[in-house]
């Protein structure tokens, strides 16, 4: 761990275009050995592309890559692994019905036979787990692991292949705060062992907490590289977006009107017989944002899905939902997503890639998704594709979706711009009630500010908003009232002004803080 002269990674003049989109332009980057290097930038700035080049997934149009001071050609991920580079993708590439051990060995078998590799790997895995605090059961099936544990398997895979340099692309987007904490402990441990880590994230808090240096990308270019100790969130945000960014949501006090959504005694038992919702009561008024805080997996997803009209197959439901005073059916043909939309419920789902978008459809096709029955999109028996495209163009412009090309497939947009497509579609319909799950997961600060503004504007137009987020900051900043969900019921209600992170954290963990007169919404 003495200072080595040659940096772990050096990029010189890397450029990469996708058709007309210049994803990376003449990028220089130096990552010293044994450091944690943050990379931040707006959605579509080119971060993932740059890392994919480093990992041999894309070939650069121009430029040079040096690893440990020596120029290398990284033709594919095999070459990257040989150069000691490992990557943890945001969307894990694990075989779901393999065990942890099998996944780790997969592709790195010693010879034709799996057996010897497996027993050798078992020992190696044990060593790595002990050394870096990466405990996972080697014989567990991956599909049975939590997201956080699956991520550990990804890291183990890289370490097993003797990676010296580890790239993590938005690793905390899918983690609970506790899991994220643990991940950071692991990363610090790796750093102490002399490994080099590149971390892409949208969360400036994480950058400040763990990185040594940070590089900022904007519209395909590297605009700054600074020592983390010598900068701060406000400066980084400004570098990223190219203008001053409000890190706090600026919103006038709510003026709640009549109740829009009333939920009474909502229960759900899933196909396996597990009770996911244990009697939810809540109410949202016009002109009000109700935030639901909670660790992922405590019933928020089920609540959103039921309100949105697509509870999981085989679920048994009970209770009452009213929208604007009228009862809505819980299940059955009159309770599908289409009926809910017609009743005036918009929905930004938690998982935009699996639910909110058809990744192979173009942007314009996606912007009609769910509203493809709308009369303005029909022309006789056919769909009015020209009208849909025109509508899409407007939304792309107003939401600054980049690149502004409606014919691009959704999968070709960066994560944040995908989210903007969904938000644009749902918010601009001006629904009575907007359900919005994880609105800013994987979204950059500039876009977060924008999406938050749109949510507040919707509220101020007298609409009701149900916000579900695992980001406490987001809940605290946006909500007019906060409910905390734990294990399928509502633990308590708080006003953002009086709520503290510690207080909410307790509720999220299922512990009633020492406060007898806790919230009115408890069920």
């Amino acid at each position: 761990m003495t200072a080595t002269p040659a940096p772990a990674i050096e990029l010189r003049g890397i450029s990469k275009a996708f058709g007309p989109v210049q994803a990376n332009r003449d990028i220089d980057l130096v990552v010293p050995r044994g450091t944690i290097h943050g990379i931040i930038g707006e959605n579509g700035a080119g971060k993932s592309t740059l890392m994919s080049i480093l990992y041999g997934f894309y070939r650069p149009d121009a430029g040079e890559i040096l690893v440990g001071g020596k120029p290398v050609a990284i033709a594919d991920s095999q070459a990257a692994i040989r150069a000691g580079i490992g990557m943890v993708f945001q969307h894990f590439k694990l075989v779901q019905n393999f065990t942890v051990l099998e996944n780790v060995v997969l592709g790195a078998e010693d010879g034709r036979l799996l057996r010897p590799s497996l027993s050798r790997a078992r020992g190696e895995l044990k060593r790595l787990a002990a050394e870096y605090g990466l405990q996972v059961d080697p014989d567990a099936l991956v599909e049975e692991l939590s997201v956080g544990h699956q991520q550990r398997v990804e890291i183990l895979k890289a370490l097993y292949r003797r990676a010296d340099i580890l790239i993590l692309d938005e690793p905390t987007g899918v983690l609970t705060p506790a899991e994220a904490d643990h991940l950071f402990r692991i990363l610090r441990g790796l750093k102490d062992e002399g490994k080099t880590i590149i971390l892409i994230t949208h969360k400036l808090r994480e950058i400040m907490e763990i990185t040594d240096n940070v590089s900022v990308m904007r519209r395909g270019e590297m605009v700054a590289s600074v020592r983390t100790a010598e900068t701060g969130p406000a400066e980084l945000a400004e570098l990223m977006v190219g203008r001053k960014v409000l890190l706090r949501v600026d919103k006038p006090p709510a003026r709640p009107g009549a109740p829009v959504l009333e939920v009474r005694g909502l229960r759900m038992v899933d196909a396996e017989g597990v009770e996911r919702l244990r009697g939810i009561d809540l109410e949202i008024r016009a002109g009000e944002i109700l935030g639901i805080a909670g660790v992922a997996g405590n019933g928020q997803t089920q609540l959103l899905e039921i309100l949105g009209g697509f509870p999981e197959a085989g679920a048994r439901l009970q209770g009452e939902i009213r929208l604007g005073g009228r009862p809505l059916p819980l299940q059955g043909p009159g309770a599908d997503g289409r009926a809910r939309r017609r009743a005036g419920i918009g929905h930004v789902p938690e998982d935009r890639q699996a639910e909110g978008l058809i990744m192979d459809f173009t942007a314009w096709e996606n912007i009609a998704f769910g509203y493809h029955h709308a009369p303005e999109f029909q022309r006789g028996p056919l769909m009015d594709n020209a009208a849909i495209r025109a509508d899409a163009m407007g939304k792309i412009q107003r939401f600054d979706i980049r690149p502004p090309n409606p014919d691009l497939a959704a999968k070709s947009f960066s994560g944040g711009n995908q989210q903007k497509i969904v938000v644009a579609r749902e918010v601009e319909r001006n629904p009575e009630l907007l359900l919005i799950g994880q609105p800013t997961r994987g979204v950059d600060i500039g876009a977060i500010e924008f999406i938050h503004k749109r949510i507040v504007a919707l509220r101020d137009a007298g609409r009701a908003v149900l916000l579900v987020s695992v980001e406490l900051d987001e809940i605290m900043a946006l909500s007019d009232r906060i409910l905390v969900m734990f294990d399928g019921h509502i633990m308590g209600e708080r006003l953002p002004a009086e709520a503290t992170t510690g207080d909410l954290g307790c509720l999220m963990a299922g512990v009633e803080p020492a406060r007898a007169d806790a919230g009115g919404g408890a069920g």
Binding site: R338, E355, G356, L382
Partner: protein, 364 residues
């Protein structure tokens, strides 16, 4: 990975696959001591060298267009319809029942009615597997295969016990009345004063097939139902989110698919045999799978692929007739084409993608 240009994807890849399939076929022909060049000549001559050859090639093409479209529509809904064979057979039953039920005064009246009968029977035959998949989760691949067997048995029963004219020894229906015979392309050409394809089975249904291509294109890419079919085929969770009912789409897509397969009977039963016989479909239902695969699940591609397979069928028949190459070998050639253009598609695609990536780097 990076994509290659569209033309390489839709034209170059199948073309190279085809060349590979032909190359291996040539080796096989060499191995049995025949001349591949001679064989190719016989095939091209026999299938495309005369209006007579074309008359047969287009007849087969028509069959394959319908079964190819059938597979394609189901595929867009994420469903693998292997039941084209049975659906086309039942379509034949529909045609026979309709044509024999009334004394049709003119083919122009009989055609739409028979087409409706064919589509209806084909659709109904696809409905049960669709319903079983949508409601009970029984896999459509299995059920449609089973329904092929049931269709064969049902047809057998109908022909022997119901449709067979009294006193006939043949398990076939009565001949269709003269007035319900569809005009052959050769007759239509003659009407225009052109001598073309005498004694060939290609008939007016060919135009119906072209129209079907157009309508299917409209359905899949221009209607709401098509939009929902494609959305559901790409992502079921997203479809549910959007309020698209999986049951509805599965059933509707399979109804359309079955109807298309059934429509094939207008060509082979009404247009060619002019009565219903056993085994009238002759594997066209299965060829439809290859046609859809090779046609990239686009009607234009399906049309071109159907033409290719029409050529292989007719040319293959000629080969058996004029050379000592055994008939079985023709099946081998057809299988190789299916293998290369369908199953081994990636074998050609991957190196091509790499090549294009390399070219692009050079060019940059």
């Amino acid at each position: 990975m990076e994509r290659m240009p569209k033309w390489a994807d839709v034209i170059l890849t199948p073309l190279i696959s085809l060349v590979l399939a032909f190359a291996i076929s040539a080796l096989v022909i060499l191995a049995i001591g025949e001349s591949p060049a001679e064989a190719l000549k016989v095939m091209v001559q026999g299938a495309l060298g005369s209006s007579y050859g074309w008359g047969f090639t287009l007849y087969y093409t028509t069959n394959f267009v319908f079964t190819g479209l059938a597979v394609m529509v189901a595929y867009h809904a994420g469903l693998f319809n292997i039941g084209g064979e049975g659906q086309a057979a039942m379509g034949g039953l529909g045609v026979a029942l309709v044509v024999l039920a009334l004394p049709w005064p003119h083919w122009a009246l009989a055609l739409p009615a028979a087409a409706m009968g064919a589509a209806l029977f084909g659709a109904l035959w696809a409905l049960v597997p669709a319903w079983l998949q949508a409601r009970r989760g029984s896999h459509i691949v299995i059920t449609t295969i089973m329904f092929n067997f049931i269709a064969a048995a049902a047809l057998n029963y109908m022909l022997v016990n119901v449709l067979r004219p009294v006193g006939s020894m043949d398990p076939a229906s009565a001949r269709f009345p003269e007035a319900a015979h569809l005009p052959k392309l050769s007759e239509m050409a003659l009407g225009l004063g052109v001598e073309w394809g005498r004694n060939t089975p290609a008939n007016v249904t060919f135009f119906l097939a072209i129209a079907a291509c157009l309508l299917v294109w409209l359905l899949i890419w221009r209607t709401r139902l098509g939009y929902e079919i494609r959305a559901f085929g790409k992502s079921e969770p997203a479809a549910l989110y959007a309020g698209i009912s999986p049951v509805r789409i599965t059933v509707l897509a399979m109804l359309v698919s079955g109807a298309l397969a059934g429509l094939m009977a207008v060509n082979n039963v009404m247009g060619e045999a002019e009565r219903l016989v056993l085994n009238a479909v002759e594997g066209a239902g299965f060829i439809g799978i290859a046609v859809a695969l090779m046609g990239r699940n686009h009607p234009l591609g399906v049309l071109l692929a159907a033409l290719l397979f029409g050529f292989l069928y007719q040319g293959g028949g000629e080969l058996a007739l004029w050379t000592s190459i055994p008939r079985e070998l023709i099946v081998v050639i057809q299988a190789l084409v299916i293998l290369f253009t369908g199953a081994l598609d990636n074998m050609v695609r991957m190196p091509l993608e790499r090549l294009f990536a390399a070219l692009r780097r050079k060019g940059a």
